[in-house]
Amino acid sequence: MIETDIIIIGAGPCGLFTVFEAGLLKLKCHLIDALPQAGGQCSEIYPKKPIYDIPAFPEILAGDLVDNLMKQIEPFKPEFTLGERAETIVKTDDDKFIVTTNRGTEHRAPVVAIAGGLGSFEPRKPPIENLSSFEDKGVEYIIKDPEFYRGKDVIISGGGDSALDWAIYLAERVAKSVSLVHRRQSFRGHLDSVQKVMDLAEKGKIKLITDAEVIGLSGEDKLEAITIKHKTDGEYTEKTDHWVPLFGLSPKLGPIGDWGLEIEKNAIKVDTLDYSTNIPGVYAIGDVNTYEGKLKLILCGFHEATLMVQSAFKRINPDKNLVLKYTTVNGVQGF
């Protein structure tokens, strides 16, 4: 059991900055995030995009903002559970919460701060009617262990880097055959990956099926064939052991939506006094919350985090009074 003062769900900019403000009040934080790295949307969706509305930064790349935040919170030694999604929350008899992830990692703290942004990032699933009946029976959205595909016929869908990279890897090292199905003739991945795929296609190691998409799945107990719809050639089936659709990730509010929190328009309702939710001890900050006048801006999330930890402190230390200290007096080490 991981013990801390504040469990922060979501390691995006808002969750990360919470560590800093909590650290100034001597509160320890542990962050949980479904993605394998910190930074949330900034790292996952747009690390190379410049942001212009962070005070005192005329322009900063989203990825650099995350790097800076990680550096800023480093003195307070935050801990992380990454690549795991917060799944359940249980209140204990001593007024604490136990948050458990999808992999069973347990965390206990008197305060939970949900900084979950748009939710946890999950693979985009293509709209095929009987898709779910073949999940883990030949259809995988993530390649966890390439050895799994040794000697197998594999069809990959998608035109991005992960589709290209896995097609190359599996074709060169493990699979019996690799086909790559893509909606267009051009690919948007790194140029060298695209070239490599073309080379392998020429050598007959990758079968390129462009201007096409997978529209159907069939098999008895497991996947045996897919139906491909080609722009000009029409529909036909292709035998395969595996189909790996790689269409990127999209955020879903997910299990948090079932925690008994008051939800409005896919966001958690909070009291703007301290960003508390309807469950005492559980707060929601950043893009995941909603209130009258809400703006989904990183800068507003920072403000919310700052006020939220004051209230969290009161809950954890009901008998202590807080006095605002400025970081300019003795530096961060003075806290």
Partner: protein, 110 residues
């Protein structure tokens, strides 16, 4: 009526038409217009052509700005893509698109 207002029609996923007054002087795009009208358009990435949650079909024969590489790439990751597919966030409200008709693409709830 001000000179800076155009009309566009958005057909929602239930097939209902919404005729919207769209301002051309606020730097807005179709995704933002739909959100402002509380139509079910997510606009997850905020308009950077990075999520495809504002996928819509162009139903009228207006000539729109060309697809950027980013938009093409993003449509590759979207589903239910047709010849007339666009991302709403890449369609800027201007006088050229007065009378535009669009239909929201289905979303995959899975």
């Amino acid at each position: 009526m001000s000179d800076n207002i155009i009309k566009v029609t958005v057909t929602d996923r239930e097939g209902k038409d919404h005729e919207l007054d769209a301002p051309t002087d606020m730097g807005m795009n179709m995704m933002e217009l739909c959100k402002a009208a509380e139509l079910p358009v997510e606009g997850t990435c905020g308009g950077m052509a990075m999520c495809a949650s504002c996928h819509m079909y162009i139903q009228s024969d207006h000539t729109l700005n060309d697809l950027s590489d980013d938009e093409e790439d993003m449509l590759d990751q979207a589903f239910f893509v047709e010849e007339n597919s666009r991302l709403g966030c890449q369609i800027h409200l201007s006088h050229e698109i007065d009378g535009l008709k669009v239909r929201l693409a289905p979303i995959n709830n899975d």
